[in-house]
């Protein structure tokens, strides 16, 4: 089995009002050095071993549902899960 960690983030060209609000709050708290905040999503998938190539599977999942590629980018990491 594999654990896949998927990070979905808004594209650079898309405004992130939520991130801007959080940055504004951090600035008010005195953390003026924070230059930008972008909010995204983190998903963990556990995928059973099969004949299907895991990279092509994860890309398909991301394109079809997990990310909307009109506004979002995604990246992922794959870890082996050692069964007990």
């Amino acid at each position: 089995m594999k654990k896949v960690k998927v990070y979905v983030t808004l594209r650079e060209s898309v405004l992130d009002p939520q991130g801007s609000a959080v940055m504004g709050s951090l600035h008010k708290m005195g953390y003026g050095e924070v230059a930008d905040v972008r909010i995204g999503k983190y998903l963990e998938l556990v995928i059973e071993d099969s004949e299907r190539d895991v990279d092509s599977l994860v890309n398909e999942l991301c394109h079809r549902l997990l990310a909307n590629t009109v506004i979002e980018d995604y990246r992922y990491e794959i870890e082996e899960v050692v069964s007990q």
């Binding site: 405004l15 009002p17 999503k41 009109v70």
Partner: protein, 227 residues
């Protein structure tokens, strides 16, 4: 004319949509559950507002894979009128039946009020009962109605007159104040404002009624030749 009002788990404007078509227009309407496998007996498909599947992941993201959506696609391909309002619009963009996407409002607030809209194109089956450039008052109720698309898509929409409604004022950040767009073929309309909530003076205005009347008028002209 017989309309299907698609009901997803979390839809909450389905009753208003049904009321508009059935009680105000006197047309046939039925609620159709999201796992229905056959829409062939309906002449028009209505995707209501609400929070399908709790807006999990993204608004409309889960609903696009509901069983009924293959049938909605078929209806769209067959040229039947498909109208998505609010969450229905979000579902249509996620499903790829309309371009672009709806982002969080620029001020992060859920906004619920009546706003001015301009009819940008009255040469559609959804707007033929309006005047070109007419200003109408329609309620909005959304947290994620900030329409976004890239430059190429916007130019394409503009050139093909696919922008149907724009907001009189920018309150949610939508690109060029876009409130509603249509597909290239002209039979799939998505809009964030709620015309189904503006069908009677009793509830504050009836500027939305002409949209439903337009659909029925066009359908009658095409299907009832010897009336």
């Amino acid at each position: 004319m017989k309309f299907a009002v698609i009901v997803f788990p979390g839809s909450n404007c389905d009753l208003d949509m049904y009321h508009a078509v059935k009680d105000e227009l006197g047309e046939e309407a039925e609620y159709v559950w999201h796992d229905s496998k056959d829409l062939s007996s309906y002449d028009g498909i209505l995707l209501p507002g609400g929070f399908s599947y709790g807006d999990y992941l993204r608004c409309g993201a889960i609903a696009q894979f509901s069983g009924v959506m293959d049938e909605v696609r078929k209806a769209a391909e067959a040229g039947k009128p498909v109208l998505g309002i609010c969450n229905g619009f979000q579902i249509l963009t996620e499903a790829g039946l309309l371009p672009g996407v709806l982002l969080r409002n620029k001020n992060l607030k859920f906004m619920c009020r009546t706003v001015g809209l301009k009819v940008e194109n009255n040469h559609t089956l959804f707007t033929n009962e309006y005047e070109q450039g007419q200003e109408i008052q329609i309620p909005i109720a959304h947290g994620e109605g900030n329409y976004y698309c890239d430059d190429a898509t916007y130019n394409h929409l503009k050139e093909n007159n696919q922008i149907i409604f724009t907001y009189a004022d920018d309150f949610n950040g939508s690109r060029n104040n876009i409130a509603g767009i249509i597909n290239e073929r002209g039979n799939v309309l998505g809009m964030m404002p709620h015309p189904e909530r503006a069908v009677s003076e009793l509830i504050g205005g009836k500027d939305g009624l002409a949209l439903f009347k337009s659909i029925v008028k066009q359908w009658r002209e095409a299907h009832v030749s010897h009336a």
